[in-house]
């Protein structure tokens, strides 16, 4: 068969990811972690990893198991592996959090949580890479968006690799000199590889295709798109490869990172140009909520890039790095993720419920599973809260940041409620909801025969 099928555990990935987003927002609203604790404090490290692994990575992997087959028109290599992958990631994250709590002397220091986290998270990401990598490798063609995803997946190796080294050094499992040197100085490379390489480059690749698909815009294979890819790869190579080399050989690390930032910003500028073109060239003049809200996420990415440029010029990037990371993680990546989830949850639910009876009976449209008007206010509140939180971090006013995080939490609650309603077909008119042969879907997974 040409094409993809429903990935059974996609909804479980999305639900787990949303749980961790809500958990992270609760932490921020409650004053747990930065800015109430130092950047390197255990509380901040827990918060950061709940967001990076629990929310963003789990969300991205769940989406990729469904979306990579669409990108390359080839079925997922292995349909049952996503479940053990998810379990390994979630248990690995739990072990990592316990390891950080050991650092804060809140948990028995004898238990090897960091080593356990290294094994479980390494296993989870390895499963995912193998499954997605084999799918991409087996495809007859790999269009540009798929190549962005390949770069993103390669960055996972670097991100997880650094993370494992840090964990082993923190646990005192190893005292190998180069590892200790990296654990002392390579945190910024870990962040760039994770936030910039894995999450942003993958999101860029996915967005090229999703935006073209949902807005009936041309699929881009133009020179600016290729240049964005190559420059992105170059920026990552300089930051990860060059940065590691600089740390281990005592070379100028800051110079390496500055060079990487320049090239990376150029790649973002080209991507921004492409996205503006996609919106302008779209055939579908009236676009749906997911594409309208994606524009706000893209604006957040542009704002992050501008902020980096301004701070680089002022020589104050290090002082305000938290604000940039916050805006990129919650405005760009989380904003885009939530916006696309709004469409993807409805689409997958439609396929699960109404796909099998298509042609046999009248079916509602995907749009009939949602009420955009009701969801719009929650999305707008979310983005306004994120931007307010960023300003609060820039001006260094913690209570305002907590207030913004609380607003984010409320908005996320509203958005999650819409997802649950979609999943339960609550917004479909009673007459159209359950035609003969259709059953209400389960909240967290699709039945095994949906292939």
């Amino acid at each position: 068969m040409i094409g993809a099928s429903l990935s059974r555990w996609t909804m479980a990935y999305f639900a787990s990811a949303l749980f961790f987003l809500v958990a992270a927002e609760c932490m921020m609203a409650g004053g747990y972690g930065f800015p109430h604790a130092a950047v390197g404090a255990p509380a901040t490290l827990i918060l950061v990893h709940v967001v990076a692994i629990g929310w963003l990575s789990v969300l991205m992997l769940g989406a990729l198991f469904q979306f990579v087959p669409v990108l390359v028109a080839h079925p997922l290599h292995n349909d049952w592996l996503p479940l053990p992958t998810l379990l390994a990631l979630l248990s690995g994250l739990a072990a990592l959090i316990l390891g950080f709590l050991q650092l804060a002397s809140q948990v028995d220091p004898e238990l090897p949580f960091f080593a356990l986290a290294s094994v479980l998270l390494g296993l989870g990401f390895a499963f995912a890479l193998w499954n997605l990598g084999r799918t991409l490798w087996s495809a007859q063609s790999r269009p540009l968006p798929a190549r962005f995803v390949m770069v993103g997946l390669t960055s996972v190796v670097a991100t997880a690799g650094f993370g494992i080294v840090f964990a082993l050094v923190l646990a005192r499992t190893t005292t190998y000199g180069p590892f200790v040197a990296l654990a002392g100085s390579a945190l910024v490379i870990h962040v760039i590889a994770g936030l910039g390489g894995w999450l942003t480059v993958t999101a860029v690749g996915v967005s090229y295709r999703l935006l073209a698909m949902f807005m009936l815009a041309p699929e881009l294979e133009r020179s600016s798109t290729k240049a964005a890819l190559y420059l992105g790869v170059a920026a990552l190579a300089v930051a990860i490869g060059g940065g590691t080399w600089a740390i281990l050989h005592g070379a100028n690390f800051t110079l390496m990172l500055s060079g990487s930032a320049m090239v990376g910003l150029l790649a973002v500028a080209l991507y921004a140009g492409d996205v503006v073109y996609l919106y302008k060239a779209r055939k579908r003049r009236t676009i749906e909520l997911n594409c309208r809200m994606a524009a706000l996420a893209l604006a957040s990415l542009a704002a992050s890039a501008v902020l980096i440029v301004v701070l680089l010029v002022l020589g104050q990037l290090k002082e305000y790095a938290a604000a940039v990371v916050f805006l990129a993680a919650f405005g760009w990546l989380s904003g885009l993720g939530l916006a696309q989830l709004y469409k993807i949850v409805a689409f997958l639910t439609w396929l699960e419920c109404y796909g099998p009876v298509l042609g046999k009976t009248q079916t509602p449209r995907v749009q009939d599973l949602v009420i955009e008007r009701r969801a719009t206010k929650w999305f707008l509140l979310y983005f306004l809260a994120v931007w307010a939180g960023t300003i609060a971090l820039v001006i260094g006013y913690s209570p305002a940041f907590q207030g913004a995080a609380a607003a984010m939490l409320i908005a996320t609650g509203g958005i999650v409620a819409q997802f649950a309603r979609t999943r339960r077909l609550a917004d479909v008119t009673a007459a159209a909801r359950l035609p003969v042969g259709v059953r209400k879907p389960r909240l967290l997974f699709a039945p095994s025969h949906q292939n």
């Binding site: 040409i2 087959p69 449209r365 995907v366």
Partner: protein, 217 residues
């Protein structure tokens, strides 16, 4: 764009009905590449290996083959026809004035054509879930071939290759067409040559999505 295909009494000849005027009136018969220069559409068709003659009618294009199987030729012919109409170029050039015009031969099987139309109407009950519009007006049904005895072959596409709804759309199309009285069996063939584009939508579908019409129905 919805193209019906009709068999004729001659197995080497197939008629394609693009659902819009071709010449409007009369016919033009083109027997080689030199004559085909009078028609950009015929030039595209003659570029396909195996096509030996093209006859342009009021609302149909009749293609004669001298080599190959229809199952291999048809996707290329359908693609050439769709590409021609999307390009919006005229059917005939000025040099066509020197060619002999005649009346349409009218050799079609009206019973099969009528069944094909009923299938097309029935398929309007099948929607593309993402766009929320029926697959006929979206232009996803490229051809409906009706053979003797009610055997139907439907050539269709999806809005994007690898769409997770692909198997459901194929199955739904088959189920829906199979329920039309007179249809004995249905084969649904999926193709991405040509790739679907919004220009293939009907005027009604284009209006629904706010797409400016490019001169198609």
């Amino acid at each position: 764009m919805f193209i019906q295909t009709e068999t004729t009494t001659d197995p080497a000849v197939l008629r394609f009905l693009p659902g819009r005027d071709v010449l409007g009136e009369g016919t033009v018969d083109l027997h080689d590449r030199t004559q085909a220069k009078a028609s950009p559409l015929a030039e595209r068709l003659f570029a396909i290996s195996g096509v030996s003659a093209v006859s342009l009618g009021r609302d149909s294009i009749t293609v004669t083959k001298n080599a190959g199987e229809w199952q291999h030729l048809k996707p290329a012919i359908l693609g050439a026809i769709v590409e021609h109409f999307i390009a919006g170029v005229p059917i005939l050039t000025d040099s066509a004035a020197s060619l002999p015009h005649g009346l349409s031969a009218g050799a079609g099987n009206s019973g099969e054509g009528e069944l094909s139309g009923r299938i097309k109407d029935a398929l309007r009950a099948v929607i593309d879930p993402e766009l929320g519009f029926n697959i006929v007006d979206l232009g996803l049904i490229y051809a409906v071939d009706v053979a003797d005895g009610g055997a139907v072959r439907i050539t269709m596409s999806t809005t994007t290759p690898g769409c997770p709804a692909t198997s459901y759309l194929k199955q739904g199309t088959s189920e829906c067409a199979g329920a039309v009285p007179g249809v004995e069996c249905v084969e649904v063939q999926l193709t991405y040559d040509p790739r679907w584009s919004p220009e293939m939508m009907s005027a009604e579908a284009k209006a629904r999505f706010g797409i400016r019409s490019g001169g198609h129905r």
